[in-house]
């Protein structure tokens, strides 16, 4: 068991606590945008894919890497786009006219 594993475990546990505390308090009003936002954030796996694709070690690894980058990056673009679209809809004051 590499010792950096434990320090990563610390990070994992703490992040878990933060996650629960923070998400629990997201207004139910925004649960759908929350879902798409977490999609976008989940796309962070792209960083790992980028390295695989960029290291260019074997053809296999490069191919897999490229697909992986495309897949996760599309998540990021799509996720942020739609979350933004949704949130732009939420208006508090009496709005002017139907969209």
């Amino acid at each position: 068991m590499p010792s950096d594993f434990i320090s990563n475990l610390f990070v994992f546990i703490l992040a878990g606590f933060v996650g629960f505390e923070v998400i629990k308090r997201v207004s139910p009003l925004l649960h759908t945008p929350l879902m798409s936002l977490t999609n976008a954030l989940d796309a962070i796996v792209v960083v790992a894919a980028i390295i695989i694709a960029g290291r260019h070690e074997t053809t296999l690894s490069t191919v897999l890497g490229v697909i992986a980058v495309a897949a996760s990056f599309s998540n990021m673009v799509g996720g942020f786009l739609i979350t933004d679209r949704m949130l732009r809809m939420f208006k508090s004051s009496r709005p002017g006219k139907a969209s």
């Binding site: 998400i23 139910p28 009003l29 954030l41 796309a43 792209v46 673009v77």
Partner: protein
Amino acid sequence: MISSENIIEAIYLVASALFILSLKWMNSPATARRGILAGETGMVLAIAGTLLNRGIVDYKWIAIALVLGTLIGIPLGRVQMTAVPQRTALSHAFGALCVTLVGTAEFYLRSPDVPRFMMGVLAMEVILGSLTFTGSLMAAGKLQEILPQRPMTYKGQNLVNLSLLAISVFVAAYLVVNPGARGLFPLMIGIPLAFGVLMVVPIGGADMPTVISLLNSYAGLSAAAMGFVLDSKLLIIAGALDGSSGFILSVIMSKAMNRSFTNVLFGAFGQVQPSGGAAAEERPVRSATAEEAAGILAAAAKVVIVPGYGMAVAQAQHKVRELYDALTRRGVDVKFAIHPVAGRMPGHMNVLLAEADIPYDRLLDMDEINSDFPQTDVALIIGANDVTNPAARSDRSSPIYGIPILDVDKARTVMVIKRSMSPGFAGIDNPLYYLDKTLMLFGDAKAFVGNIVRELGGAHA
């Protein structure tokens, strides 16, 4: 003294903090936009930081992949609001795909000399990743109604599934002991892929949202596992955040549907539908025309509109907006009662109504609004059913007994817009429809609301 690794790590640290803030700011619509900004900034930083990585020798392929991703991503960002559930499922599939592929690449680059421990985590990453991949695709298919919505069950199904899972775990264990056995790795992907499909097959289309959230947390976990393999705190944090989000949402949903996870996963709930539908027809109900309905609404002082899944499928939100305008113009006080699981995903009604420009301070949670119903003249139910079913309060035998519902039956008059007497998602009859105070308004939500608006002389579309 300060190596480029350290700079990158520092950038990742900032990115992680931004991700947390991004979720934190989602707690109210006022700060939510800032939340997105934080998320985007974090993402840009993280990617920029990664591109500094010395290991990267060739940026061509990365560039191509990024362009590709953008091309796929933009349409995925432009889908109809009603298509959000399947879009979400799809994006889990993509995320899981990425994780699985990276895991595979890592394995073949490193094996045979993969440290036992890391091999274990890697196995977990790949197994979670691949089952989430196919599982999410299935879910998306069912929601998009490419695949049959109704649950497909056969004897010993759960046994088959669990044994599949067991086998893949066994393979993983074997690989941990001797990581040289490259030949076995495909098995460790293939079997979970199959499992993912079979896992979702027996689950009814309407249960998908819960499944999606569950898959969401799997996706998060697999990302975190990848973080452990690559010793990347950034991935671990993002994974943990994503995982807890998915978990909490699925808990909220199953609570509001009073179901247990196991029940959702193995229950094949949907089947009940027919029986409930049949029982319905017999007893008499009072129905009314759009004209009558319009009259009653115009005469009311306080109206609470209860939207449900039906409004979503009918795409009636803009007509509802017109109704809201027409009534408000006549000085009627109009509120919306939003049940936590109205529709087919958490917050479903809120986005639709927001899409139609209805100010969100008119949308009230179940807890806020329930006390108002006794003082309400008309409760207008538009395509909602289960979330208004009084049986949940009274009838111990009902499958939805005990779930918190909207007390519409406390209002002076109840009007229900739906196409027929057929039941909702839970597949059970709704006693509400047989009350004397209840008027059934049969028809498609969009069309019927449109007629009411016309009667009120308020159509401006």
